[in-house]
């Protein structure tokens, strides 16, 4: 039986992992397989992990203000490694004004503080399919 696999990662230096843990739990309860890698991950490590785990999507939680560099870097590395079929979404403290640029760079969705977890589940069910051969 096919299952959607999602890597939940926390790049950068801040240690606020409540959000990513709540989201991981919500995605688990929605029936997805969530791979959680812990704090302070580099974009290179995130992409290497995503490829080994053959995930369908990567969710990045960023509260440090580094979103404008981290998201594009992850997308760039995925492309470099031939894995741009992995969807990248994210959440955290990200100003509304910065979101259009992230979408333009290829991020599929940004969830800002206060988003109900159901919205993220809905988004994944509507947009992400388990990969096949």
């Amino acid at each position: 039986m096919s299952k959607i696999r999602i890597l939940m990662a926390k790049p950068g230096l801040d240690g606020h992992d409540r959000g990513v843990k709540v989201m991981s739990r919500a995605l688990r309860d929605a029936g997805f397989e969530v791979i959680y890698t812990g704090l302070r991950q580099t974009p290179e490590a995130i992409v290497a992990t995503a490829i080994q785990e053959d995930v369908d999507a990567i969710g990045l939680s960023i509260l440090s203000g580094a979103h404008a560099t981290v998201f594009p870097r992850v997308l760039e590395l995925l492309k470099e490694k031939g894995a741009s079929d992995i969807s990248v979404f994210g959440g955290g403290v990200i100003p509304e004004d910065d979101i259009p640029a992230l979408y333009k760079a290829g991020v599929t969705r940004i969830f800002t503080p206060g988003t109900p977890t159901d919205d993220a589940v809905q988004f994944i069910n509507d947009n992400i399919k388990p990969k096949s051969a």
């Binding site: 039986m1 096919s2 995605l27 029936g31 997805f32 785990e53 388990p130 096949s132």
Partner: protein
């Protein structure tokens, strides 16, 4: 040879990772790929690590990866965590403890959910190990889910089986019960700086003294503090000794065949359930008011 398999055998991680996915999902036709993969296996040394939740299996695995890498060996890891019986979802978090290896191209770590399998492994585990073996990994470590007393499937598939325990989990009667304590090739008492480590270690040794040896191998009890890396060199040394013992006694071939038989039986069970006893038919018959045994008889008689 199919393209995907060829790419995986050439070391392409994306292709290997996809093959693992196809087996894990039991996707239509995955067996075609796996037939090709299994032909290329038999070279890796397969180490099983099992023990209670929180006993330090992942941290120990992390330490072992470091040691094997510094000895120049390539490493695969299959890390298994439980799947929710209610939602089918899972949080696979064993990698957290192995983060230092995420950029090492000679380390392939794969997280797997049990997806309803009860023996401590997923049904796909051995296929995933086989893919890593075929991709040329020298050592493949299987880290089981946190287990209780009876999840002994790992003993049927690993070359060297390490059972990890911690001080204070139970008295000496726990150690003489059947099950998990019988399968160890090496015992590890982790977190050995805690109170009662000596007692736990002695209880295990006492139990081993009255246990008949399997294949003339002496099971030793080692103490580690995985978080600080203490005792890990001794563990690696003991693994090497077991590996050599294994080869010299020609047990490797027997183990390899046992492994293939185990995988074959897994496939048999799946096929029988799918083709003869599909869950939806069982549900329907039970709902009609049949008892469990009549239900099975009705489906059995329907086989053409």
């Amino acid at each position: 040879m199919s393209n995907l398999v060829e790419r995986a055998l050439n070391g392409e991680v994306i292709a290997g990772a996809r093959l693992m996915r196809l087996s894990d999902d039991r996707r239509e036709g995955y067996q075609v790929f796996m037939k090709e993969i299994w032909k290329k296996t038999g070279n890796a040394h397969i180490i099983g690590i099992t023990g209670a939740p929180g006993s330090g299996k992942s941290t120990l695995t992390d330490q072992l990866i470091t040691k094997f890498r510094s000895a120049g060996k390539t490493v695969g890891v299959v890390a298994i965590d439980p799947t929710s019986p209610f939602t089918g979802g899972a949080i696979l978090g064993d990698r957290i403890r192995m983060a230092t290896h995420s950029l090492d191209e000679d380390v392939f770590i794969r997280s797997v959910g049990t997806r309803g399998n009860l023996g401590g492994l997923s049904v796909s585990t051995m296929d995933i190990v086989a893919i890593m073996d075929a991709m040329g990994k020298d050592v493949v470590i299987i880290e089981t889910v946190g287990v209780g007393q009876d999840e002994v499937e790992i003993a049927m598939v690993a070359d060297t089986c390490i059972v990890v325990t911690v001080p204070g989990l139970g008295d000496d009667i726990q150690a003489i019960k059947a099950g998990i304590f019988e399968i160890a090739d090496i015992f590890v008492v982790n977190k050995s700086d805690r109170d009662g480590a000596e007692r736990t270690s002695n209880d295990l040794k006492m139990m081993l003294e009255i246990t008949p040896k399997r294949d003339e191998w002496t099971v030793e009890v080692l103490k580690t503090m995985a978080e600080k890396g203490e005792g890990v060199d001794e563990l690696v040394e003991r693994i090497h000794i077991h590996e050599n013992f294994f080869k010299e006694n020609k047990l490797k071939r027997r183990k390899l065949n046992e492994r293939l038989v185990h995988v074959a039986y897994g496939a048999v069970k799946e096929k029988i359930v799918k083709d003869i006893f599909p869950p939806e038919k069982i549900h329907a018959l039970i709902e009609e008011g049949n008892d469990p045994y009549t239900t099975v008889e009705i489906l059995w008689k329907n086989i053409k």
